[in-house]
């Protein structure tokens, strides 16, 4: 060893010393003293001592001890002429240097020297070292040297140089342009390891910006069909997977050789890569039945082995194929289902993810049961990790709600599952809310199971356990209990439970829902006409009312604005109710409850039933034709001398409009301007308003005016049957996605009202019959369950089929997600946007500027010679100098001119320059200028 004859601590001594330490404290002490020794040793004049110190520090660095303070000494050791020391220096540098290490600035020359060394081992070491420490400035300074190294006589150096180029590109993307031809040559290198290295680099590059590397496809294809090196084949296939999506024609070319590999190879890694390429390279469309069958069939082999790794990757691949070919994957449901109970959680997770797509009405019960059993802890020490439990719950919800519950045949069962899930997932953070959303969804959509869901919700609200262990669900359970209070068996118990909760135990948003639910339940309970309003009843209700008042008072000072607002509002109402009850006579003479309870309260909550509305419905409302928000609502007031004159003016206007409109039909939808509104008016007065008598017209006009005003007024409610009939018409109209067709006879009369968008939405969602989707009929003939679909506008079908991911996303939109940038992701933004096809603007521009400068200088010299034209010449030059920064893209044009320019004599040059200037200005006008 190096330090055999010195009285310094060697690496062996250090390691032995550390191993001899009994506990952490002693180790720490020992290491600290060792580091302080090293601090002295790195300053030694003896290079051996210095190198050993650096090696020791590199060892300690591995355990997290900082050695950046020794960066300069590391550099010293790196520049040692001795290979042994240099090796240590490079090792330490690779371990400890970062892009921001300041001594790297000093390393450039040393690296250049090592790269130019006659000893290929030195060169190789410098390249290896550089791969780890390359910074943008190093990349810029050394790119050229490395490009030279790609043609080194030794393949050992060549392959390293090729590989390090990727690191250079990452730091200095411009190098790609200059070195790409050389890199391309390396695909034809006689040495397989160099070719392989080149494929590796291009594969990585193609992941960032595939378009640049399409021209290499023939060469790569050749390697694919001729090589037998599996390592390289995997990379080539991966590379084609990146190219596939941008060049669809590659598919037909690639499938035969890849199929061949799939059929013949014995290496599972290669087989897997091939299948992966077909799937993620966009080569598997819905029509490629045969190809998909082969892939799915081959993947099945992965499950027949005992190797867990193959199962895992097999599931990953199935997960990708299932998106296009669910039926084919479903044929292997047996092996996939087996993985659901695998002892390995990673495998289980993947399998469960996949099963979501494979369940059908027959298997759903069984699958959900198996998953629920997993969630129940077998014993105290065998509790599954929380993230897995959350995952399983989400998958259960996904597979049930998938495709508007098309797999669920028995909704009582589903509600029971949800209730059980709440129980099982006690203590799991946030999942309660997700289950709650599902429960709410079912309660709203599936009328037949509503009473059951309400019962379940009521039990949750009264259950103290739920409140402590899974409070997230209560917000939704509380809402259901309130909204569907009519189904409650014992509303007074629920009310009692709700108002006896201490304010601090509920989260604010749950409290807000409870405050809203309490009046709903109260109005159902107190406002019922089944129980006669006797004296005792009055006393009971009074007591309850006062309890609620007391409860609301607690919240009226809440810090949460929603809770405070709701509680204060209802507080006033309940105080009024209490007052109304007290004002009643004390005897049983009046058997009717106060109107506030029997009429006012119910009318607050029960006028219309809520229906699910698609989240996208609002977006689908078409913008009314002719709606211009910038236009004035009221035309500026015209001051006229007499009323008659105004009237005449108006009539004239109307006539004009009518003439205009007589040719085309008037169905401009929103009468957004007075002018347009008036244009509708004569139309509705049964054609040819001019023949009607003055009075009649005037009356009709006013009627129309009023109707329009009412329609526009969102607070004005029309009689209900009228609304219904209109809404029906509307549905007809809207279903043909036209508001009012040209040949619609109804349009003239009701045009105004129909065309008000705000009314339309209200009518459609309130009074229109709920469109119901029947669950599909299956062999088992399940009971018909009607599931209300989401209401939307326009294309109904688009909204009813909800993709599972979308549904899940909606459900979990509240879930906090942190999208922090992973530190493991390499920053390759430079490469992502680097297009080799586009001309190198920077480079071309720089050259242009240089050339231009030289020309100007020359021109100046010549101009100085020509004394009488001196003034003019310098003037031009100054002008040109200003333009210097702007360089025109059209390089060729310029070059032609420049060429002629140099040949021409001095006198002509000036005129030429002038024209050039003009040309430049022209181009500038086109916006074709690139600023350097």
């Amino acid at each position: 060893m190096l330090t055999g004859y010195r009285f310094k601590k060697s690496l062996h001594d250090l390691i032995r010393g550390i191993r001899a330490c009994k506990d952490e404290e002693a180790t720490d002490k020992y290491v600290r003293s060792a580091i302080s020794e090293c601090r002295q040793e790195v300053l030694s004049q003896d290079m051996d001592v210095k190198a050993m110190a650096v090696l020791k520090l590199a060892y300690l660095q591995m355990f997290g001890h900082d050695m950046t303070w020794a960066s300069f000494n590391v550099l010293e050791v790196m520049s040692s002429p001795k290979f042994a020391q240099k090796r240590i220096g490079y090792l330490a540098a690779m371990q400890s240097f970062g892009v921001d290490t300041d001594v790297l600035m000093l390393a450039t020359n040393m690296l250049k020297k090592d790269l130019a060394s006659s000893n290929h081992l030195d060169v190789a070491m410098a390249i290896s070292g550089l791969s780890n420490i390359v910074s943008p400035s190093l990349a810029r300074d050394l790119a050229e040297d490395l490009v030279k190294m790609m043609n080194h006589s030794k393949p050992y150096v060549r392959k390293k140089a090729v590989l390090v180029m990727y690191k250079i590109f990452l730091q200095f993307p411009e190098a790609l342009r200059t070195s790409f031809p050389r890199l391309r040559e390396k695909l034809e290198d006689p040495e397989i390891s160099v070719v392989s290295a080149t494929v590796n680099v291009i594969c990585e590059l193609a992941k960032k910006h595939p378009k640049n590397y399409l021209p290499l496809a023939p060469q790569l294809f050749n390697i694919l069909t001729t090589s037998s090196n599996n390592w390289m084949l995997i990379k080539i296939i991966k590379l084609f997977a990146s190219l596939g999506p941008i060049e669809p024609r590659l598919k037909t070319k690639l499938i035969p050789p890849i199929t061949n590999v799939i059929q013949t190879t014995t290496a599972m890694s290669l087989l897997y890569e091939c299948i992966n390429c077909i799937v993620s390279g966009g080569m598997l469309s819905k029509e490629d039945e045969q190809l998909a069958t082969m892939c799915v069939g081959k993947l099945r082999i992965f499950f027949e082995e005992t190797d867990q790794n193959l199962k895992f990757v097999g599931l990953l691949a199935y997960n990708k194929i299932v998106l296009t070919h669910p039926l084919l994957v479903a044929q292997n449901a047996d092996v996939i289902m087996d993985c659901m109970d695998d002892p390995d959680l990673s495998i289980r997770e993947r399998a469960v993810e996949l099963v979501v797509y494979l369940v059908n009405t027959d298997t759903l019960f069984d699958v959900v049961k198996r998953l629920m059993l997993q969630l129940i802890p077998q014993s105290r020490d065998q509790v599954l990790p929380e993230h897995y439990r959350v995952e399983v719950v989400r998958r259960i919800l996904d597979m049930c709600s998938n495709n508007t519950y098309s797999n669920v045949t028995n909704f009582e069962w589903y509600v029971a599952v949800l209730v059980d899930l709440v129980k099982i997932t006690e203590g799991v953070k946030d999942i309660g809310a997700e289950i709650g959303v599902e429960l709410q969804n079912v309660a709203v959509r599936v009328r037949s199971v509503r009473d059951y869901a309400v019962g379940a919700s009521a039990r949750m609200v009264t259950d103290k356990d739920v409140m402590i262990k899974n409070p997230g669900v209560l917000k939704y359970a509380g809402w259901i209990a309130g909204e569907y209070a009519i189904y409650l068996d014992n509303p007074e118990i629920i009310l009692d439970a709700m108002i006896n909760i201490e304010p601090q135990t509920l989260s604010d948003d749950t409290a807000a829902v409870y405050i809203q639910a309490i009046p709903k339940i109260y109005s159902k309970y107190a406002g019922t006409d089944r129980i006669p309003w006797t004296h005792s009843r009055a006393q009971e209700i009074l007591q309850l009312t006062e309890n609620i008042v007391a409860y609301l008072e607690k919240y009226s000072t809440s810090m949460d604005i929603e809770v405070q607002e709701r509680s204060v509002e209802f507080l006033e109402l309940f105080r009024l109710i209490a007052l109304a009850i007290k004002e009643r006579p004390d005897d049983d003479s009046d058997l009717t409850p106060p109107a506030l309870i029997s009429q006012a309260m119910p009318s607050m909550f029960n006028v219309w039933e809520l229906n699910p509305v698609s989240a996208k419905a609002q977006k689908r409302i078409p913008i009314p034709e002719g709606l211009d928000l910038d236009e004035e609502f009221n035309a500026p007031v015209v001051y006229s001398e007499s009323e008659d004159e105004e009237e005449a003016l108006l009539r004239e206007q109307i006539m004009k409009q009518q003439q205009l409109n007589s040719g085309k039909n008037i169905n401009s939808v929103a009468a957004s301007t007075t002018a347009k509104a008036k244009s509708n008016k004569p139309k509705s007065t049964r054609d040819g308003a001019s023949s009607e008598s003055e009075d009649e017209e005037e009356m009709e006009r006013r009627r129309q005016e009023r109707r329009r005003r009412q329609a526009e007024d969102p607070f004005y409610i029309l009689e209900s049957d009228k609304v219904v009939s209109k809404s029906r018409k509307q549905r007809q109209n809207s279903s043909s996605s036209e508001l009012s067709g040209p040949d619609d006879p109804m349009k003239n009369e009701k045009l105004d009202i129909d065309s008000i968008p705000i009314m339309k939405l209200e009518i459609a969602s309130i009074a229109a019959p709920v469109t119901k989707k029947k669950s599909k009929r299956h062999r088992t003939q399940p009971a018909h369950v009607e599931i209300a679909t989401e209401e939307t506008f326009g294309d109904e079908n688009a909204a009813t089929v909800v993709h599972p991911d979308e549904a899940a996303q909606r459900r979990t939109s509240a879930r906090a997600t942190s999208h922090k940038k992973s530190i493991l992701r390499v920053d390759a933004r430079g490469l992502e946007n680097y297009d080799l096809d586009s001309p190198d603007e920077d480079e071309a521009d720089r050259k242009e500027v240089e050339k231009f400068k030289a020309e100007i200088l020359e021109a100046r010299k010549k101009a100085a010679k020509a004394a009488e034209e001196e003034v003019r010449a310098t003037h031009i030059v100054v002008k040109k100098k200003k333009k210097k920064a702007k360089v025109v893209k059209k390089v060729k044009k310029r070059e032609e001119k420049n060429d002629t320019l140099t040949e021409k004599p001095a006198e002509e040059e000036k005129t030429d320059e002038k024209t050039e200037e003009k040309a430049e200005e022209n181009v500038e006008g086109q916006g074709d200028i690139v600023k350097t």
Binding site: L55, F97, Y156, F312, D344, L345, S822
Partner: protein
Amino acid sequence: MAVQYVILLSRQGKVRLAKWFLTLSLKEKSKIVKDVSTLVLGRRTKMCNFLEYKESKVVYRRYASLFFIAGVDSTDNELITLEIIHRYVEQMDRYYGNVCELDIIFNFQKAYYILDELLLAGELQESSKRDVLRRISQQDALEEAEGDEEKFNRLGI
């Protein structure tokens, strides 16, 4: 980027080697080592050798008392990564001759040198088993020659 890092971990959770193909701060490195160690040590024998960590994949395999761990991109082929790990173990086995944990502890720099010949910038640079070892022995021979020379010089003085 193919391989992001290679970590050798003893069964007790002690780091025996940590090679980074990404430039990270010491703090970030320590965090990853700690997280990945916990993940890997928590695995049982019958489980598969792949894990997910953040946006990357962790591929590991246990050889005797050591865990060999490689971090790869999420799009990379897990199976081939496993083969790279195996290749590395094979190389060390030949170089040290029946490699054991102690060999790697006391000659940690050699383990790095071998890895540097096998992988560069996270990519496999040599698929020939013989070639990697030939390079290492060339380097060792050069080192030795230098040492001998120095000894002669000292004796000469």
